[in-house]
Symmetry: C2
Subunit: 547 residues, 2 copies
Amino acid sequence: MNILFVMYDQLRFDYLSCAGHPHLHTPNFDKVAAMGVRFTESYVQSPICGGSRMCFYTGRYASSHGAHWNGFPLRVGEMTLGDHLRHNGMGCWLIGKTHMAADSEGMARLGLSADTVIGARQVECGFDAWIRDDGLWAQGPDGFYDARRSPYNEYLKDKGYPSDNPWAAFANAGVDGDDNIASGWMFKNADKPANIREEDSETPWLTREAIAFMEQAEGPWCAHLSYIKPHWPYIVPAPYHDMFGPQHVPPAKRHAVEREDPHPVYGAYMENKIAAAFGRDEVREKVIPAYMGLIKQCDDQLGVLLDYLEQSGQMAQTMIVLTSDHGDYLGDHWLGEKDLFHAQSVKVPMIIYDPRSEADATRGTTCDALVESIDLAATFVEVAGGAVPDHIIEGRSLLPWLRGEVPDWRDFVISEYDYSATPQGAKLGLAPRDCRLFMVYDGRYKLMHAEGGLRPMLFDLEADPDEFHDLAKGDAHGAEIERLYGCLASWGRRMSQRVTKSEAEIIAARGKSARKGVLPFLVDGSEVPAELTEAYRGPARARYTSD
Amino acid sequence: MNILFVMYDQLRFDYLSCAGHPHLHTPNFDKVAAMGVRFTESYVQSPICGGSRMCFYTGRYASSHGAHWNGFPLRVGEMTLGDHLRHNGMGCWLIGKTHMAADSEGMARLGLSADTVIGARQVECGFDAWIRDDGLWAQGPDGFYDARRSPYNEYLKDKGYPSDNPWAAFANAGVDGDDNIASGWMFKNADKPANIREEDSETPWLTREAIAFMEQAEGPWCAHLSYIKPHWPYIVPAPYHDMFGPQHVPPAKRHAVEREDPHPVYGAYMENKIAAAFGRDEVREKVIPAYMGLIKQCDDQLGVLLDYLEQSGQMAQTMIVLTSDHGDYLGDHWLGEKDLFHAQSVKVPMIIYDPRSEADATRGTTCDALVESIDLAATFVEVAGGAVPDHIIEGRSLLPWLRGEVPDWRDFVISEYDYSATPQGAKLGLAPRDCRLFMVYDGRYKLMHAEGGLRPMLFDLEADPDEFHDLAKGDAHGAEIERLYGCLASWGRRMSQRVTKSEAEIIAARGKSARKGVLPFLVDGSEVPAELTEAYRGPARARYTSD
């Protein structure tokens, strides 16, 4: 079986019709949900592109792999999905974005060069790159945000788009009334059509690359088809640019009580520029329709993929996974972007179709088990026929749920966020190591712990499903806070770095040292069978002491 | 300045005359203590050879580097003292034991070969090996405990000792009345002289290697002179074998109350073969004099080293550090060996002589700050002239203490123990990941947390300096237990894996993305200086949309 592991970027859990969106119809997402299982309680281990993805790709928590944020390199030698899958005979390919930053210092220290197969995989987070394009070709006075070469920009240039950076000038810009570039970076332009042929925009381009990959691929393979969209810049080509309008924009989910004595970190985020922009109705009314148009385009392109799989006869041998690296506040909770732990940010779509007959019983169902993004790595290893190396991969296989079983399962999910490199970290004046947040969510209560001596936040999602009322402001919920801190403490003591010895190897080694002559308990040798002391007996053959 | 980093193996903190031993006179240890500072509250991060040493050599907690126990490989790429010191222009050499197990799977994955400089350092825990000899050439029906070649055995063979394993047959054995080998593995033979010329025994041999190294070394260097002794087998050549007798053996520090409803892990250790042997007075009366003789020999050889340093003029430019990887119960607390967290096991000697004038004020003093073994790595980096990379090294430099300052310091020390591969782990029927213990000690209270759902232990060292009365058996000390669990929880959340980005790099990166064109908050561009949006302006040059 092959695995088509599709990730969208910044796709909110509730912007799909199968997840109940009232205006956005996504028949192809819904079709995969009907063929498989939709996990309704899926959480990323860090609500930020880079950190979240490194969790997906290693199957480990952010604090375990250490690449907590965008541009924090994943340490050389950290094992990835690619290592685990290839070990089990399955290729592991990348088509699109990873946000991987290579540990170039570590590679230099170990003498690894990116122009070898081993080195290239270190650079690409363990993937073999069919195509790598992180899709953020931002450019300013200090140069490009991403110093790599952009295959997508090369494609656009080949197609004749006249710009050094057609990603910025065409794919992510419209045209204003004076025939000037109307940059997609500016929310006022979000209702303009991107100045690009729809077929040349990012999502169809990457879909074609995925099909080209599958056309030639020999299995078994896992292909990580990783779209940049619906991530900002919020602008989409015709006809998607005007499919939705202000009438399709729900009111922001926000409450005045949230602004009353907010947690200092939450308060700092509410005061940032993104939050200020999304606080304006006219911004939401332009941006959200564009965001919906981007998702609608993703859905159409998913239809193209599904058609290809059906027509090529691969549907019966391809697992399909649809997920996202985090959500988007879109003005909810007085915020824009992601970063914090409200559902809008930390909860993601997770739809899995398993073509095998064992999964027939669950087709079209939903599952509300507490799923972590790191579970996919474990799932994929099992699909590849391997045993999950649970001393390395911290997630758990979702296959039992797909078979309709009810496995022993976790009681809480963890997510983390490192805001040390952000303006909020600077504003709060904290040392980088103190700019760290942890979420513990047990299916009802959600605790946020903040380092740096700050108080926690607490929500009761049963009483307050919209997460407006921070119960940690009062003093009535000490027992719940203490209980969730206990969960966080037990997680903090987890075995995460003993990656060189498996549980099975340790059990097999128990008591073996005596048979290799280590006997630090013998009084006269009678304590053990004679064969264990054989090597220590015999004539002295020479005497160097007169005693 | 150079660093002579001397480690003894299994040397108890209190078996030195400067530490108050009533019968064991160690004038050379005392001399270094008089020249420097003796840290009286020094704790290893794991009371077992391999785990402890990997903490010393990485400057990181066991849970951070993952090599928790003997033979658990240190993951490839984990940074060591060698990496940090060479980065600061100081060589880092090994003379003796490390107990390092190489991550051969990880090396193969990264294409590293042990016959390159880079690969050899991975194998040798970052050291350049002047000589590597782990000093445990045990042999049984399943072969050698240590599969390497033994330089010490080669030396003995060259000297004509007639055996395939003269370490076992001569250096660690006496001769019985029938002229047969009387193995040092058997405690009944501990009062016999080892059947070897004293000069050929392990401690003098390694001392000569150290001097040979220093004779040719060009500085600055850090030399890790790492003796196997006084580690078992407990047998020592003449004249050390009869310097001490039963009259010098203190009564075992143990109390009947310790055997009443003991903690399950402690109980399992009290029932093992080593504890049973040390429960017999005749064993203690033979073994402890041999242990003292081994230490006395170490002290004499330290005198040889000090003489060399003085005569060669190096004393004024050599920092000397004397420490151990853990202690030895020797029958105290009804136990033998090490492993648990009583002072006899987890507390170590720590004597530092700094020849520089800044340290003049503290010569001959003691310091009772809570020291962790991981502090040496930080100390050495500072000695080499570097800034401690505190996103990697978790210890703190001891230099301020040596200068007589009182730095902001830690409130508690942590130690860990993984007994998953031991008979005790098997006996308790726990999964390997649940066979883990944590110590939190704040200078008065010592908490032991045990995974696997077991209760904690608690000692109040002010009221009970001998650690006989486990206060966690009752229910009167809940507040102290909770407080120490809070310390453990905060430690569990520490930033330990973000090893690819320093605090300073993060601070420098704050707010830089806008100058690289990442502007996900613009409504119309007026929010930022025009230069930041320059790249996104200009004529569209072509129009691909009719809107």
